[in-house]
């Protein structure tokens, strides 16, 4: 039996096409056979509004808003259990990161999603000097929900901070300057160029 391209096209709605074009490893979504091994293998599975297998079916059903504004993919711990167990070998972890990034790009991330915030802080932190400054990252995390909350969190984390200081695995001097690459400007130019190329590619396919 040969495939009928017209029939296949009929089942490929616009959102699936958009995911295939614009989301990292999105072309794999159509390969999911709904077995549910990914959902059963996820260490945080119980916290997903829609586990991966459901997300894949929702994409195929054209549920754009519900998928992209979901907290689900922000629950991924990048443990890769789903990837190694998927009988169809879908790169599920990467698709989840890709969907999360695409949701961020379109401004559809739910407000105050903690992992979305932390993920963005991590990226912004590393972009400044080319290397992550753990002390500054820790401080931004602490104060990510405003000053009042931050003071409370800082009090709660005081012992942890002291432990890290005592074991010489944290250094207050990192607050001023801190480590980084020597060629910061070359580094930033290269990543900016990569961003520009990716933006152009996505603009070309359109985010309908």
């Amino acid at each position: 039996m040969t495939a009928n391209p017209a029939m296949i096209e009929k089942y490929r709605n616009n959102f699936l096409k958009e995911v295939e074009a614009n989301v990292e490893e999105g072309e794999w979504v159509k390969m999911c056979m709904q077995c549910g091994v990914c959902s059963g293998s996820c260490p945080l599975g119980t916290f997903w509004d829609h586990p991966p297998q459901e997300i894949f079916m929702m994409i195929r059903a054209g549920k754009r808003e519900e998928v992209l504004s979901s907290e689900s993919m922000w629950m991924c711990t990048s443990c890769y259990n789903c990837i190694v167990r998927c009988p169809r070998e879908l790169p599920i972890t990467h698709i989840m990161h890709g969907l999360a990034h695409y949701a961020k790009r379109l401004g559809l991330v739910p407000q105050n999603q903690p992992t979305a915030k932390f993920s963005q802080m991590f990226w912004d932190n590393l972009m400044k000097k080319g290397r992550v400054n753990e002390l500054k990252l820790g401080l931004s995390l602490c104060f990510m929900n405003g000053f009042g909350e931050g003071v409370k969190t800082a009090m709660k984390k005081q012992k942890l901070g002291m432990n890290m200081l005592k074991s010489r695995r944290m250094n207050p001097m990192e607050a001023i300057g801190g480590h980084g690459v020597k060629d910061v400007s070359g580094f930033q130019k290269a990543i900016a160029k990569a961003q520009e190329l990716e933006d152009a590619r996505i603009a070309q396919h359109g985010a309908n």
Binding site: L44, Y80, F122, K159
Partner: protein, 300 residues
């Protein structure tokens, strides 16, 4: 033993005396001295974005981060395999190399981005985790031959975790029940726990920061299972596992009314002590929860 040289990618958290896995770097350096391994740091290496930078970093910018490191390594340390000690560094770099190998379009774009800063990616360099270097390049026999102080009577749970194990892992090992850490413990004269149930359980990774309650519940299970087996300590090859399982035990004790004080060390900590080196060389003084049995052995 033959002298070996590698192009070393230490990663952001390895910063000596200033970041969370400083203890890993110190003990790895000691271990490498004993095994006659020279680590040539990749000049001006950058962060790999780990597995959490994806909100701001799209696919190509993240691949470009790793491409820059590989290109710098190929330019300055030609012919040397890249070795990373951090699971996330290894994973991101190897993933980037594979994806750029498979996708010519992405490779062309990554090189176009890199051209802004100079280095050009050939993408011909093998990318290894230090555990692969130990097992595949050096081998258990040679590792065992260097032991001066066997870890006698020390019971150690081998916690492999996620990213050193999946999706690449160590050749010949199973994703569900890898045994190389148990073999290493036995090789060093310690007592391994091959039936430790939580050896590949996720600790929460970066979500330990953003979703601490969810992460700490998983960490609780990892520690509890080690106690159930009568372990004196946990050993791991991953800096995220080491930190997440070691440093939140006070918070877990408060939440769950437990009395955990389970030391969590690196394979390199065990090796440095078994090779007769000092507590300082093994970075035992950088433990948040002291590994008393190793302290005692190192002092002997």
């Amino acid at each position: 033993m033959a002298k070996r040289e590698y192009s070393f990618y230490p990663g952001c958290s390895s910063q000596k005396g200033a970041s969370s896995s400083s203890n890993y770097l110190v003990s790895v350096q000691t271990m490498c001295e004993e095994l006659d391994v020279t680590l040539n740091e990749i000049p001006d290496w950058n962060c790999c974005a780990a597995s959490i930078g994806y909100s701001g970093g799209g696919e190509l910018p993240r691949l470009t981060l790793s491409a820059r490191n590989i290109a710098l390594s190929e330019e300055h340390n030609p012919g040397q395999d890249i070795v990373a000690t951090c699971a996330a560094c290894w994973l991101s770099t190897r993933e980037a190399a594979e994806r750029l190998h498979e996708d010519e379009g992405l490779l062309a774009e990554a090189n176009q981005a890199l051209a802004e800063a100079g280095p050009k990616l050939k993408n011909e360099t093998p990318i290894k985790h230090m555990a692969e270097v130990l097992i595949e390049d050096i081998g258990f026999d040679a590792i065992g031959a260097k032991v001066k102080k066997p870890l006698e009577g020390i019971k150690i749970a081998g916690y492999v975790g996620c990213q050193t194990n999946r999706p690449f892992g160590i050749a010949g090992e199973s994703f569900e029940n890898p045994v190389y850490l148990d073999k290493l413990v036995d090789t060093l004269g310690g007592e391994s726990i091959p039936t430790y149930e939580k050896k590949v359980q996720c600790c929460g990774g970066a979500l330990a920061f953003s979703e601490p309650e969810k992460s700490q519940e998983m960490v609780k299970g990892i520690i509890e299972a080690a106690y159930d087996h009568g372990a004196d300590m946990i050993v791991t090859p991953c800096p995220v596992c080491q930190m997440n399982v070691e440093v939140y035990q006070d918070e877990i004790n408060e939440t769950y009314n437990t009395k955990f004080a389970m030391p969590v060390v690196y394979y390199s900590t065990l090796m440095a002590v078994a090779y007769g080196r000092s507590a300082k060389d093994a970075a035992l003084d950088e433990q948040v929860i002291p590994a008393k049995k190793l302290d005692e052995l190192a002092a002997k």
